[in-house]
């Protein structure tokens, strides 16, 4: 008998997607390595360059490189998984299911943020081995909480980027450009204030810019980042993240409409 129709649940779908990501990762875990090479090198190089810049520079370098690794993992991973849906031909049955694709993406992004954390941890260990331990963080609990929130800000960007992958099979190309601009734009590696003035306002559109600056305020005594200070950073991070997540649902609806119109769901 045709069964009674049951509703999908957002939470369950998100979890199912996260779980499938983990299973697929476990089937083939080595791709975590390449995404960590660049951040480790960046961290070591900047460490060498600014060797005499003071004790807290090490914290700065670790935060930057760790973020870069997590960022790479989030962005690359989320987009890549969607690109794979195209390649596998699973985009069609997934879109055909009652769950909006947004929640499938969300599950993947969450997994990518978590796996990015491993990457960040490894960067940390490498630098620890080479340069010794950084000074202790004054407020470890606050730092940890904020850190988790920064992961959420990353996820928000990951979700938006993944939309491009649903939109077009050329998204990988867009991302390769975008990813690099992002490292610099958010001041992961170099303080945003060192960059030409005009890049500043752009970087403010990215939630992690605010989050990372707030993290630095917490980890580095006497840090001078954006002039609005820690609380301003925190507020900015919350507002931009909310805006990203708020826009995501509408963005995905438009993207779906576009691909159904174009008939490009099966292209790869």
């Amino acid at each position: 008998m045709a069964g009674a129709v049951v509703e999908y649940s957002r939470g369950r779908s998100t979890y199912a997607s996260l779980r499938l990501s983990v299973l697929q990762f476990l089937a083939d875990p080595q791709w975590l390595v390449p995404s960590m090479i660049a951040p480790v090198i960046f961290a070591l190089v900047s460490f060498e360059l600014f060797r005499g810049a003071g004790a807290y520079f090490l914290t700065y370098a670790i935060l930057g490189a760790g973020m870069m690794s997590m960022w790479g993992q989030t962005l690359y991973g989320s987009g890549w998984a969607t690109g794979q849906d195209r390649e596998f031909g699973t985009l069609e049955p997934t879109v055909q299911s009652p769950t909006p694709y947004l929640y499938v993406i969300l599950g993947r992004v969450l997994w990518n943020v978590v796996s990015g954390l491993f990457g960040g941890l490894i960067v940390y260990l490498v630098i620890l081995g080479v340069a010794g331990g950084p000074p202790a963080v004054p407020d470890p609990l606050g730092f940890a909480l904020l850190f988790v929130f920064v992961m959420v800000t990353l996820a928000a960007v990951g979700v938006i980027f993944a939309a491009f992958y649903v939109y077009t099979r050329y998204a990988g190309f867009i991302q390769n450009i975008g990813e690099f601009a992002f490292y610099i734009g958010t001041g992961c590696m170099f303080p945003v204030v060192l960059l030409p003035f005009y890049t500043n306002p752009i970087s403010l559109f990215f939630p992690p810019t605010w989050g990372l600056d707030a993290l630095r305020y917490l980890a580095i005594p006497g840090y001078q980042g954006f002039s609005w200070g820690f609380w301003g950073d925190l507020a900015g991070a919350i507002v931009t993240t909310a805006a990203y997540l708020g826009a995501a649902a509408a963005l995905f609806r438009r993207v779906e409409r576009h691909v159904l119109e174009e008939g490009s769901l099966a292209w790869y």
Binding site: A2, Y8, Y15, A27, F88, G89, L260
Partner: protein, 329 residues
């Protein structure tokens, strides 16, 4: 009949694909995949769609199953608009596009089903039992826990079918469901289709296998170049192409004069002359009982002592080839 009694109801569905190729001087090509499809299918019925490669079968299947928007026209499934009410329809429809793709290769068949069971919100208490149930129905229990990348083509096809029925849809779209299946599995699949039908599921099926269409579908349509060129029961389609009896004569070449004589025999609606190397075959469609194989022998024997004449029922394949050929002319 009120409109909601139809499982499928389309009006003037068209679909144009615009694609571009080239780099700097991009050249646009336009493909009219569907050119005005009007179709109704009753609830609980099975409907078969035949047609040559590129006729638009998959395109129509995707439009009806909310994976593609029509360029023009409207389509309602289960009384709901496929464009505006996709959210209502998706949990109620199943789709089997089949093929080598469309599955997560790195995890097991069971995990594939579990993932989709979750996306469809199948009650947790029932989920695992239902997965085992559909795996048994497509005879894939033995391989359920192997990675899909190790599956043969037919095993993948079975997994596609399992996924399509997992959430117990009210309407099931099957695009060439038995492609790649061995004869036994194909027969099992047809049995499965009949049992779903007995459960009240409406089935929309495309196929290239004439016997499959004839066996499963009391009613079918033939799609050619984006248009439905015929839609009826198999028996009536036989009449449409000129009779349900077919006579065949084989010999080393026939003359136009002979063919002309055959054309004027009572009840003959069509004579087709095909050459297979040195051998020619005449296929003669006969509407009435009057013209029997003997009459043919009488006419052909003098010129062709070797002639072999036989009679058979007009097959769906004959009907199909006639109609598609007519359309091509």
């Amino acid at each position: 009949m009120s409109s909601s009694t139809w499982a499928i109801e389309t009006r003037g569905i068209t679909r144009v694909f615009e694609s571009r190729k080239g780099f700097l001087f991009r050249e646009a090509t336009r493909t009219e995949a569907l050119r005005g499809i009007d179709l109704t299918v009753e609830r609980g019925a099975i409907f078969g769609l035949l047609g040559p490669n590129g006729a638009g079968k998959t395109t129509l299947t995707k439009i009806l199953s909310t994976l593609l928007l029509p360029t023009g026209g409207t389509a309602r499934v289960l009384g709901h608009d496929v464009v505006r009410e996709a959210g209502y329809l998706r949990p109620r429809m199943g789709l089997v596009l089949g093929g080598e793709r469309g599955l997560y290769n790195r995890v097991s068949g069971r995990e594939n089903l579990r993932y989709f069971a979750d996306l469809y919100g199948i009650p947790l208490a029932e989920r695992d039992r239902r997965i085992s149930e559909v795996l048994a129905r497509v005879d894939l229990e033995g391989a359920a826990d192997r990675r899909v990348e190790e599956y043969s083509r037919g095993m993948k096809q079975k997994l596609h079918i399992a996924r399509g029925i997992l959430h117990r849809p009210e309407i099931l779209f099957l695009d060439e469901p038995t492609i790649g299946l061995d004869p036994k599995s194909a027969r099992e699949t047809r049995k499965l289709v009949r049992s779903l039908l007995a459960d009240g599921v409406t089935i929309f099926l495309t196929t290239h296998y004439m016997f499959e269409a004839e066996e499963l579908c009391p009613e079918l349509a033939i799609l050619s170049k984006g248009r439905i060129v015929a839609r009826d029961t198999v028996a009536r389609l036989r009449q449409l192409v000129g009779g349900d009896r077919t006579l065949e004569a084989e010999a080393y070449g026939f003359e136009d004069r002979e063919i002309d004589v055959l054309r004027h025999l009572p009840g003959v609606s069509k004579v087709l002359n095909e050459e297979f190397g040195p051998v020619s075959r005449l296929t003669i469609r006969v509407r009435t009982e009057e013209t029997r194989p003997d009459a043919l022998r009488e006419i052909l024997l003098p010129g062709h002592p070797e002639v072999a004449v036989r009679e058979r029922r007009t097959s769906l394949e004959d009907v199909y080839l006639d109609l598609v050929e007519e359309e091509a002319r």
